[in-house]
Each structure stands twice: as structure tokens, then as C-alpha cells.
Symmetry: C2
Subunit: 85 residues, 2 copies
């Protein structure tokens, strides 16, 4: 049990890590130092985790990764949009 | 079994996502658009996953997350070092 909690905690930290990044990108309107491949690879990972959540019928995993996916998608949108300004 | 593979695939994508980011930061010597909190939160997540790997005695998890931890630590080093240039 404790190991599962620690495993999920790791996932949660990695997920929420994008929140300060999105806030910074939104505020500064500058994204040039961000690798688009980092954002895309993270988004692909999130999709895998949503599928994983569906397969094991884990609602919290599906919900959290969907929220995470939206945040990362928004970061990708900011990256693409601001790169063309 | 298939769900475990998909779960790990998600983790692998999220882990390798930092590789293009580190390469970009190293090449451009510019890190100002990166949130230091994104890097720190990711590093904390990695430490949790190493502990998880130790608890379930999962050598591949320990090895992969240690490599990932080194990459993220290097990104943190670049962020701190280049922010003061």
C-alpha cells in the first residue's frame, strides 16, 4: 500500500510540475527556451496514462491525467502560438 | 500485463521528454523561459519513483529513474547557472 502511495505521489509531482510552467509562459508571453519535443513527449505520456487508467478502471488516474493533459495541451498551444508572434 | 506496459510507457515518455529540453538549453545557453519550479517538482517526483522502485524491488524502475534524475538535475544545474550569467 505505502509503495503505491509513493508511486502515485511521484506521478502527481511530475504532473503538477507543468502548472508553474504554464503560469510563467502565460505571464511572460515568452516560450522560446522551451523544447516543443518536451511538451509533445509529455502529452503522449499523459495519453498513455489515461489509457492505463481506463484499462485498470482507475477513475482518479483518468481524472488527474485528463486535467494534466489539458494543462500540457495549453502549454503546447502557448508554445505554438507564441513562437509565431 | 498490457495495462502495466502501457502504464510504464507513459512514464517512459514523460521521462525522456527532458532529454530534448536539456539539449536545447545546453545548445542555446538560454533558460529564462523555463520555470525552476517545473524542474524542481519533476525532480521530487523522480525521487519518489526511485523510492517506489526500491520498495517494490523493481530494478528497471530504479535504473531508469536514476538516469532521469541525473538528466533533470543537470537541467536544474543549467537553469541555476545560466540564470546568473
Amino acid at each position: 500500500m505505502i509503495e503505491e502511495i509513493i508511486g502515485y505521489l511521484g506521478g502527481i509531482f511530475i504532473m503538477v510540475s507543468f502548472i508553474p510552467q504554464v503560469i510563467k509562459s502565460y505571464k511572460t508571453k515568452s516560450v522560446k527556451d522551451l523544447s516543443i519535443w518536451m511538451i509533445i513527449a509529455t502529452l503522449v505520456g499523459t495519453v498513455f496514462w489515461i489509457v492505463y487508467g481506463v484499462l485498470i478502471n482507475g477513475k482518479p488516474i483518468i481524472i488527474m491525467n485528463t486535467i494534466f493533459g489539458v494543462i500540457v495541451s495549453y502549454q503546447l498551444f502557448l508554445k505554438i502560438k507564441m513562437s509565431h508572434l
